[in-house]
């Protein structure tokens, strides 16, 4: 009774908020459950902690045909047996729309849609997107010694990214770990790309357009004068992105 009264006092039973969460996408090139299970179990074994009981969204984009609900049920079973939990269909592919109801999985809007290369053969398509195996913990940072120019993107998978040259406006640095720039940072820096909230961004000469850590980002339309051109670090403090001049 007391709890009911407390709820009545606050006037709400629930809160609805908009939040961003990182979600693993499983892109499927085939609906053969055996092939999927084989590959997934192999992949999960390389980083069991990372993949076990992980919520994943199924992306039908690369698939060459429209699968039936039964076919997809087999795919979902394979994914579950590999230890992952399918929670939705990436809504990029048109076929996902039709399958959402019979499979009882919601459509999840993607940030970027996947377009399979039209001319590549089926074999090539299966080979191309295969990501590198999960790197072991303690792998050295990825070093980039050339200027990163406007329109270029550098991604350090599973580790830190160190750039020892300038990063132009319109260039993108992405790392699953921290981003370090020993030069001017005029472009974008994305640290903790897979949700690592302890990741940080460091740079020597701060002019960034955008800084993001574990999905929390800030766009700099105008640079704060206390940061512009200064050595700066950025980190995540709870939900807030903090910036501080280094060595001040």
């Amino acid at each position: 009774m007391t709890t009911q009264r407390a709820e009545a006092a606050s006037g709400t039973a629930i809160d609805i908020r908009f939040g961003q969460v990182g979600l693993i996408q499983v892109l499927i090139w085939t609906t053969d459950p055996g092939a999927i299970l084989d590959e997934l179990t192999g992949r999960v074994a390389t980083a069991p902690k990372f993949f076990q009981r992980t919520a994943v969204s199924i992306d039908l984009g690369p698939l060459g045909h429209e699968p039936s609900a039964e076919e997809m049920q087999g795919v979902l079973d394979a994914v579950r047996r590999a230890g992952m939990c399918p929670v939705g269909l990436a809504s990029g592919a048109a076929v996902a729309q039709a399958l959402s109801r019979p499979l009882d999985l919601p459509l999840l809007p993607p940030f970027r849609e996947f377009h399979p290369p039209a001319e590549a053969g089926a074999r090539a398509r299966r080979e191309a997107p295969r990501p590198e195996p999960e790197p072991e913990a303690g792998t050295l940072a990825q070093l980039h010694a050339h200027p990163v120019r406007s329109g270029q993107r550098v991604y350090a998978r599973g580790r830190d990214l160190v750039v020892t040259a300038t990063v132009g406006a319109g260039a993108e640095l992405i790392a699953d770990g921290c981003v370090h720039v020993y030069g001017a940072l005029r472009g974008r820096a994305v640290a903790g790309a897979r949700g690592e909230t302890g990741a940080r961004v460091f740079c020597q000469d701060f002019h960034a357009e955008l800084v993001s850590i574990a999905g929390v980002f800030r766009v700099f339309e105008t640079l704060p004068p206390e940061l512009a051109g200064k050595p700066v670090q950025a980190w995540l403090d709870g939900d807030a992105l903090r910036f501080e001049r280094l060595g001040a």
Binding site: P147, R149, S150, Q152, A165, G168, A169, A171
Partner: protein, 270 residues
């Protein structure tokens, strides 16, 4: 040993064709055998700047398609004996260029013992620009001292570092040079224009030349005489310096400061 130099910028109207014509003339005047190729298929301009538009019979696309031989299409400059032009096609579009076709033309020029092949790139980053830079050993990136030109040049430098024959095959990459054009020291001093230092800082490259803004450039273009050949112009001297630096000479940059005005000019506002 033939060297292929692309003159490129990303942005249009910054002076690529003017630079191609002047650099080609400058090199030829020093006795080098030079072929300059207009890659701007459909918007043929280089022949106008070089003053030989009425002598274009066959063009680059004709050579690629085998309609004529390279010898038939190369136009010999009337002023400088060792300078040759391969004009763009005015009636075709950029899809007429193929990687294989461009490679064959360049190989033939190399076999013919040209010292330099200058590729005048079209604006943009599409096929014409891509093929103009693809086989280059060196690149002259033409940039105006303003933000959009600098941004586009940064983009082009990124492509030079990743989408060229040298970078793809790991042959040490394309050697990159920066050439500033339309530089106006008075406006730089007033803070209305980016300085050489600003541009150098952002792009992180050495500057091979700074060409001052000058009415001589337009006059020369209209007359069909590459500006480097007009004796009294500062722009001509600046291009001459750039050619010297391209050949390895070390010269201090000129025309970075506002010219001193004489007593009478100041008195009478001349």
């Amino acid at each position: 040993m033939t060297e292929i130099i692309v003159v490129t910028s990303g942005k249009g109207g910054v002076g690529k064709t003017t630079t191609s014509a002047s650099m080609a003339c400058g090199l030829a005047r020093r006795g080098k055998r030079v072929a300059v190729i207009d890659f701007d298929i459909g918007l043929r301009n280089l022949d106008l700047i070089m003053g030989c538009e009425r002598r274009v019979v066959y063009d680059f696309v004709n050579v690629i398609n085998g309609d004529c031989t390279l010898k038939q299409a190369l136009i010999k400059d009337k002023r400088l004996e060792t300078l040759h032009l391969l004009a763009a096609s005015q009636t075709r579009d950029k899809d007429a260029l193929t990687e294989d076709g461009v490679r064959r033309v360049l190989d033939e020029l190399i076999a013919d013992a040209f010292d330099y092949i200058i590729c005048d790139s079209p604006a943009g980053i599409e096929k014409g620009a891509h093929l103009a830079m693809y086989f280059a050993d060196r690149a002259v990136v033409v940039v105006n001292p303003e933000v959009s030109s600098v941004r586009d040049s940064d983009r082009i430098l990124g492509l030079l570092a990743s989408k060229t024959h040298r970078s793809v095959n790991g042959n040490g990459g394309v050697k990159e040079h920066l050439l500033l054009t339309r530089y106006n020291p008075r406006r730089v001093a007033n803070g209305e224009m980016m300085s050489v230092g600003d541009v150098k800082d952002i792009l992180g490259l050495d500057v091979i030349g700074v060409v001052p803004e000058s009415p001589d450039v337009l006059a020369a273009s209209n007359a069909g005489v590459p500006v480097i050949l007009s004796d009294t112009s500062d722009a001509a001297a600046a291009y001459e310096d750039a050619v010297a630096r391209l050949l390895g000479e070390e010269l201090p940059l000129r025309f970075l400061d506002e010219p001193k005005r004489g007593f009478f000019a100041r008195m009478f506002g001349g």
